[in-house]
C-alpha cells in the first residue's frame, strides 16, 4: 500500500506540470483516505479541541531532566484560520466556540470539494487534505493579532517602490522563466514551506490543499542541554537554536534558515532569527533584513502556543505579530529529500516556458 501511495505521489508530481510546488516527502504514512469523511473529521476536531481545553486545566508544564521547560514532541502547524482577518469580520478578533466550529466546518467542506474538470489531482485521495490530519478549529478569526485589525500593516514607501519595480522588471523580462528566476524556494527545494514562520495561516477557498491549510505541516521540537532544534517535515529543514546567549553570526554570514538564538522567559522559549539570505515568499514581502521573533510555550499537555513577530523597517510601517495553537501529533517525521527527487521542477519550468512562448507567438 505504502509503495503504491508513493508511486502515485511520484506520478502525480510528474503530471503536475506548471503547478508551482515541490513533491511529497520521501516517506508518507500509509493512509486509507476512505476511512475518514469530512463530517467525521469535523466532529473529531471539535472533540479534540474540547479535550485539549479540558486537559489544560489543573496542569503543570513539564520540565526536561536537565530542568528546562519541555516543549519536545511532534506538532502540526496546519490551520484553516487565515493569516489576515477577512473584511466581513472587521472588529471581531474572536469567534464564539460555536462560530469557530461553523467556520472550521465551512473551511473543511470547501477544502474537501474538488471540481473534477479542473483538478490536477485530488489531495484527499492521498490523505493530504488538512482535515484528514489532527488540525483543530481556532477561536481566532485571524492569526494576526497585532495590528489589532488583524491585517498586515501598511507597506513603507520603500517597499511599495520595490514591489512596483519588481512587477515592472517582470514585465520588461517579457516574460522569461528559468530556475534562476523562480522565487519560490520550496519549488526549488532550497527551503521548505515552513522555513521562517512555522505557519502563515490558512486560505479557505483555495483550490489547493497547500493553500487551504498547509501540507507537510508536521514539525518536531528537539531539546538537549543548551539547545533547541526545530525540524520541519517540509524539506527536512532543521534550525539549531543555541540557548547560551552567544552573539549572532557576523552580518556577512547569511543562511537560508537564518541564524537563531533562543532564551527562556519563564516557560516560554523566545527565539530571535536574523542573517537571512532572502526570505522570499515565506516572509510575505520582507527583505533579508527581516528579524523573526518566535515565542513557543505549552498551552496544555497536547497544545503548543506559537507566536511570531516579523520586523522589517524596509517593508512594513510597524512590526506585526500572529499567534496560533498547534496540536501535538504522533511521531515520527520522515526524510523529505526534496532536491534529490525534484521531478516537479523541470516540468514547472518547461511548462512556464512553453506558455510564455505561446503568449509571445500570439503577440506577433
Amino acid at each position: 500500500m505504502l509503495h503504491r501511495v508513493l508511486a502515485l505521489l511520484t506520478a502525480v508530481v510528474i503530471l503536475c506540470g506548471p503547478v508551482l510546488m515541490a513533491q511529497a516527502p520521501s516517506g508518507t504514512k500509509a493512509f486509507d483516505p476512505k476511512a475518514v469523511d469530512p463530517e467525521t473529521a469535523i466532529k473529531a476536531a471539535a472533540a479534540a479541541a474540547k479535550a485539549a481545553a479540558a486537559a489544560a486545566a489543573n496542569w503543570t508544564p513539564p520540565r526536561t531532566t536537565w530542568g528546562d521547560p519541555d516543549l519536545q514532541g511532534y506538532w502540526l502547524t496546519a490551520t484553516y484560520t487565515p493569516l489576515q482577518r477577512p473584511p466581513e469580520l472587521a472588529g471581531k478578533a474572536f469567534y464564539t466556540e460555536e462560530e469557530a466550529l461553523a467556520a472550521f466546518k465551512k473551511a473543511v467542506e470547501s477544502d474537501a470539494e474538488v471540481d473534477p474538470r479542473t483538478v490536477h489531482y485530488d489531495w484527499k485521495e492521498y490523505g493530504m487534505d488538512a482535515w484528514q490530519s489532527p488540525v483543530r478549529p481556532n477561536r481566532r478569526t485571524s492569526l494576526i493579532f497585532n495590528p489589532e485589525n488583524g491585517r498586515l500593516p501598511a507597506l513603507t514607501p520603500e517597499a511599495q517602490k520595490r514591489q512596483a519595480d519588481g512587477r515592472a522588471a517582470a514585465r520588461a523580462r517579457n516574460p522569461q522563466v528559468g530556475v534562476q528566476t523562480l522565487n519560490n524556494w520550496y519549488t526549488r527545494c532550497i527551503t521548505g514551506n515552513n522555513a521562517g514562520p512555522m505557519t502563515r495561516g490558512g486560505n479557505p477557498g483555495s483550490d489547493s490543499a497547500a493553500g487551504a491549510a498547509g501540507v507537510t505541516a508536521e514539525a518536531q521540537i528537539f531539546q538537549a542541554p543548551g539547545y533547541a532544534v526545530l525540524i520541519m517535515q517540509s524539506n527536512s529543514d532543521a534550525r539549531i537554536i543555541p540557548l547560551d546567549g552567544r552573539p549572532h553570526l557576523p552580518s556577512n554570514v547569511r543562511n537560508w534558515l537564518g541564524d537563531s538564538r533562543g532564551h527562556w522567559e519563564g516557560n516560554t522559549l523566545v527565539v530571535e532569527t536574523t542573517n537571512f539570505i532572502a526570505p522570499g515568499t515565506n516572509f510575505l514581502g520582507g527583505t533579508a533584513r527581516t528579524k523573526l521573533t518566535e515565542r513557543f510555550s505549552l498551552a496544555g499537555p497536547n497544545t503548543l502556543r506559537y507566536e511570531f513577530t516579523l520586523d522589517d523597517p524596509a517593508t512594513w510601517t510597524q512590526p506585526w505579530s500572529a499567534e496560533t495553537l498547534i496540536p501535538r501529533i504522533d511521531p515520527p517525521l520522515y526524510e523529505f529529500a526534496c532536491h534529490e527527487q525534484n521531478y516537479g521542477l523541470m516540468n514547472v519550468v518547461k511548462g512556464a516556458q512553453t506558455r510564455e512562448a505561446e503568449a509571445e507567438a500570439k503577440k506577433k
Binding site: L2, H3, L6, I14, S26, G27, T28, K29, A30, T64, T65, W66, Q72, N174, Q176, V177, G178, V179, Q180, T181, R188, C189, I190, T191, F222, Q223, A224, P225, G226, Y227, V229, I231, S236, D237, A238, I240, P242, D244, R246, L249, V253, N255, W256, L257, P331, P332, L333, Y334, E335, A337, H339, E340, Y343, L345, M346, N347, V349, K350, Q353, E360
Partner: protein, 316 residues
C-alpha cells in the same frame, strides 16, 4: 575552555582542562591524556593525509562524563579529519578533474585506508562497476525518471551523503542526546538523522540517510542503520553499495575530545563479506562554534538544469 558556563565541558580525570593547557601543550605540565589528545588533534589538523584511527593503547582507559540519564554524554559538534570522502581506501594525492580551470582547488589530498585490512572485499563484477563509477564520477543527468540516479558522485549534485559517508564528509555535525531519541544534524546539506533509542521504530521505506535504531553497549552507542537507498556512494572514488546495505555504527568516547567511530558494512549483493571502517571524530571546541548552513542546492542548479535549457531564462 569553559565554552558554555551553563553546561560545562566534560571533565577528564577530575582535572578541568583549561585553554591555557591546550595552548601550552609543548612543555606545559598538563594532564597527559589531554596533551596527547591535543598533539594528535594538532598533527592531524595540520596534515590530514596522515590521519588514521588512534592505535590501541594510545589513550588510557577512559570513562566518559554522563548525561543526566547516566549514559555517556555525546552532545557536541564533531568532525572527522580524514580524506575518506575522496577514497575510503588508501590513495595518493591527485589533480582535480579540471585542473585547467580549478588548479589546485580541485585537487584531492592523499590518505590512508579507513578500511580494516585496507581493501573493500568487492565481488569481481562489483569491482568493475566501482571502476566504471569512478570513470563517470562527474556525470550528471537531471531527468524525470529513476535514471537520474544512474550518474556520477551524488555529492556532485548536492544529494544527501547517506551513512556512513555523512560522518566523514569534510563538514562538522552535531549530536543532540535525549534518553528516547538522539538527533544528528549534518552541516553538509543540513541532513538530519534521528536515532530511535526507546522505543525503536520500524523503517517506513528506504531513504537517503536510512533508518536508525540505537542502544548502549557499555559506553558505546551502537546504531543499526537499515532502509538505505542505493543512490549514495561511499566516496568520490566510486565505492558504492546496493539497497541491501546494512550498517552497524559504534560511537565510543575515548577522551573528552574524541569519539572512536567504527562501522560494520554489510551488503551481500556487492561484497563477499562484511567489512569494517574506523576513524576518530574530533570535538570542535572553538568558542561559540556552530554549524554554518551548507545548503548546496543553489550551487548545483546551473550544473543540473543548465544543459536542459531550464536554468537561465531563454533569450528571445
Amino acid at each position: 575552555m569553559e565554552l558554555n558556563p551553563k553546561y560545562p565541558m566534560p571533565k577528564l580525570g577530575g582535572h578541568r582542562p583549561s585553554l591555557q593547557c591546550v595552548i601550552n601543550t609543548v612543555g606545559a605540565v598538563c594532564d597527559r591524556a589531554l596533551a596527547i589528545a591535543t598533539i594528535v588533534t594538532l598533527c592531524i589538523t595540520a596534515t590530514p593525509a596522515t590521519a588514521q584511527a588512534p592505535a590501541a593503547g594510545l589513550f588510557p582507559a577512559y570513562t566518559a562524563p554522563r548525561a543526566i540519564d547516566g549514559k555517556p554524554n555525546l552532545n557536541g559538534i564533531w568532525q572527522a579529519f580524514i580524506t575518506a570522502n575522496w577514497d575510503v581506501e588508501a590513495h595518493p594525492a591527485q589533480p582535480g578533474p579540471h585542473p585547467e580551470i580549478m588548479g589546485v582547488w580541485g585537487a584531492g589530498p592523499g590518505g590512508q585506508s579507513i578500511v580494516e585490512g585496507g581493501v573493500i572485499p568487492y565481488k569481481p563484477e562489483a569491482l568493475a562497476k566501482k571502476k566504471e563509477n569512478f570513470e563517470k564520477r562527474m556525470a550528471v543527468k537531471a531527468t524525470n525518471d529513476p535514471h537520474r540516479y544512474d550518474t556520477g558522485d551524488p555529492e556532485l549534485q548536492c544529494y544527501r551523503a547517506g551513512v556512513p559517508r555523512a560522518n566523514y564528509m569534510p563538514f562538522p555535525f552535531q549530536i543532540f542526546q535525549t534518553p528516547s531519541e538522539i538527533l544528528m544534524v549534518y552541516e553538509y546539506k543540513g541532513a538530519v538523522r534521528t536515532i530511535y533509542m526507546d522505543p525503536h521504530r520500524e523503517a517506513p521505506t528506504d531513504s537517503w540517510m536510512g533508518w536508525s535504531n540505537g542502544h548502549w553497549e557499555g559506553d558505546t552507542l551502537v546504531v543499526d542503520v537499515t532502509a538505505l537507498n542505493d543512490h549514495t556512494w561511499f566516496d568520490r572514488a566510486g565505492n558504492y553499495h546496493s539497497d541491501a546495505l546494512h550498517v552497524v555504527e559504534r560511537y565510543t568516547p575515548i577522551s573528552p575530545y574524541h569519539l572512536k567511530y567504527e562501522a560494520t558494512i554489510e551488503d551481500p549483493n556487492i561484497f563477499t563479506r562484511p567489512w569494517k571502517i574506523s576513524f576518530p571524530l574530533y570535538r570542535r571546541v572553538e568558542e561559540n562554534v556552530q554549524l554554518v548552513e551548507f545548503n548546496c542546492v543553489p550551487f548545483v542548479e546551473e550544473l543540473m538544469y543548465g544543459p536542459l535549457g531550464l536554468y537561465k531564462p531563454p533569450s528571445r
